[in-house]
């Protein structure tokens, strides 16, 4: 009787793969749910708390409107309200500044990383500039460049230049000298060594710098727009607060957070594509 049972279940497993399959499928689905819960569980709990906190009486809805109201404000703001225009202006400011910082920082870092003397000469100045808050310099930039777009873009550019510049210099300097020596043995000249060994070796560090710079650019964008602007998402946060449009204020904050997340994931995605060899990336 028992033997027969074992046999029949064996036979079932052997010819009709269905039961085994659904079992595997069920386990996989369960595992997926588990993974999602681990990854997003706290986030979902936070969202639920935000949404229902007011109704349950432990959040002041007048100050912190429910999440659904914020999302509605975000949608309205982007479709027909001020956020659409603000987002365009903010993206342009941060984009131009970050682009300029990258366009200057990476080539300059590559050169300085290769020329120890140049690096030694400029490094003290770099360290001083880096430690001087760009926000403290913002009034100076306004005096020099006026209250318009230029000073805003410049302060963002200034702040986001240093992370990418210093990371690139570090990346170049950290390239294994033994690999450079290997390339020399095969007759590679300076430019070939740079192109085939130094540059690819520095790429992971350059990406670290890019992510830091992008974060800094968004941070400075918001600060610059809060101080002296009448457009932009950062301005909208302050403006909505003055006018007590709290859903719009939170919508602007959420928009900025999403912008930061999107930028970070975009750069991370690019890094994964370019550095498939690097398991850590």
């Amino acid at each position: 009787m028992t033997i027969q049972d074992v046999n029949s279940s064996l036979a079932l497993g052997a010819d009709g793969a269905r039961p085994a399959n659904t079992g595997a499928f069920g386990r996989k689905a369960l595992q997926l749910v588990g993974d999602l819960a681990t990854r997003f569980g706290v986030l979902i709990a936070f969202a639920l708390l935000w949404e229902y906190g007011g109704r349950l009486g432990f959040l002041n809805s007048a100050v912190i409107p429910p999440l659904s109201n914020v999302i509605a404000a975000l949608r309205d703001g982007l479709v027909s309200g001020p956020l659409k225009e603000d987002l365009g202006i903010s993206l342009t400011r941060a984009g131009v500044a970050f682009g300029a910082a990258t366009a200057l920082g990476i080539p300059l870092g590559l050169v300085m990383g290769q020329l120890p003397t140049a690096e030694k000469l400029i490094d003290p100045l770099l360290q001083l500039f880096r430690q001087t808050s760009a926000l403290a310099l913002y009034p100076v930039f306004i005096l020099l460049l006026g209250l318009g777009e230029t000073s805003k873009v410049f302060v963002i550019f200034w702040a986001s230049l240093f992370p990418i510049l210093l990371a690139t210099i570090g990346g170049v300097k950290e390239v294994d000298g033994k690999l450079i020596e290997m390339a020399r043995v095969y007759g590679a000249r300076r430019l070939t060594i740079f192109r085939r060994v130094v540059l690819p070796g520095a790429v992971p560090q350059i990406f670290v710098g890019l992510r830091l710079s992008a974060t800094t650019a968004l941070l400075m964008l918001i600060a610059a727009e809060m101080i002296g602007a009448n457009h932009g998402v950062g301005f909208q946060v302050m403006n909505a607060q003055y006018n007590f449009q709290l859903p719009l204020m939170f919508a602007s904050i959420v928009l900025l957070a999403l912008l930061g997340l999107a930028t970070n994931y975009a750069i991370l995605g690019l890094q994964r594509r370019l550095c498939r060899w690097n398991a850590a990336a």
């Binding site: 033994k178 390339a183 043995v185 095969y186 007759g187 085939r196 690819p200 790429v203 060899w277």
Partner: protein, 256 residues
């Protein structure tokens, strides 16, 4: 003309070679007036205690370091820097981590301006030769130490050097892998007919591979010793002659 050239391929002549380092304000002679002729197609193994200058000698031959005095001629021409007729295999594989095995092996050919297709075909041949045919598309981080070192060997062989310089190439490998790689090196040396100059601190490895063993003394007032290894190949590690020679070499180091 061509006959003389063929006879000269990979011949090394070292004359009165000296090199010293300064360490904590003290002058340390590493090589003092070394004279040595290395024959075309020979396997010369250099042994010596740490600090005896064996790696320094190899690096001078590679053109990676300059001697203080004396000359090195290769096929009658003085050595100045690195050269296309020499390839170096280091203790570490020194693979570029962002390139696959195949791309790493074509590296030397790329630099010499070979077309991609020709370089790849050539590289595949040597990847097969070192037994890594199935790993051509793997990245270095996916390889074991022994496999990575074999990639380094394949890369060196693709450029068809007359002289292969090996700086403790098996030093970082485990005992089993090491023996397998010694057999492989011996086979490659015979098949490729290169002059092989190998630095090691493993006396058994020296006797297994060498036509002659150069023993560099630690105390520089003593002269270096050259020992002929007249054992039939492939060599039997447990044979009486092999063991006797190992005892003799051990005695050179005062370890007997």
């Amino acid at each position: 003309m061509s006959a003389t050239q063929a006879a000269l391929r990979g011949e090394v002549s070292i004359r009165r070679l000296s090199k010293a380092f300064t360490l904590n304000d003290r002058r340390l002679d590493v090589l003092r007036g070394l004279n040595l002729d290395i024959r075309s197609g020979e396997c010369l193994v250099i042994v010596g205690a740490s600090g005896s200058g064996k790696t320094t000698l190899l690096r001078i031959l590679a053109g990676l370091e300059q001697a203080d005095a004396g000359e090195v001629d290769i096929d009658g021409r003085p050595v100045a820097g690195v050269g296309a007729e020499r390839a170096v295999i280091f203790q570490e594989p020194r693979l570029l981590p962002w390139l696959t095995v195949l791309e790493n092996v074509t590296f030397g050919l790329d630099i010499r301006g070979w077309s991609k297709a020709r370089a790849r075909a050539e590289a595949r041949h040597y990847i097969e030769l070192v037994g890594l045919g199935d790993f051509a598309d793997a990245y270095p981080r996916q390889l074991s130490g022994g496999m990575a070192q074999r990639v380094g060997i394949a890369r060196a062989l693709t450029v068809k050097p007359e002289i292969l310089l090996l700086d403790e190439p098996l030093g970082a490998l485990d005992a089993m892998t090491k023996i397998a790689m010694q057999q492989e090196l011996s086979r490659i040396w015979r098949e490729e007919k290169v002059t092989m100059i190998l630095v090691t601190h493993d006396l058994e490895e020296a006797i297994y591979l060498a036509d002659r063993v150069l023993v560099l003394p630690k105390i520089k007032s003593q002269p270096p010793r050259l020992i002929d290894v007249n054992l039939p190949r492939p060599r039997e590690r447990s044979s009486a002659d092999f063991v006797a020679l190992r005892e003799e070499l051990l005695a050179e180091f005062g370890l007997h």
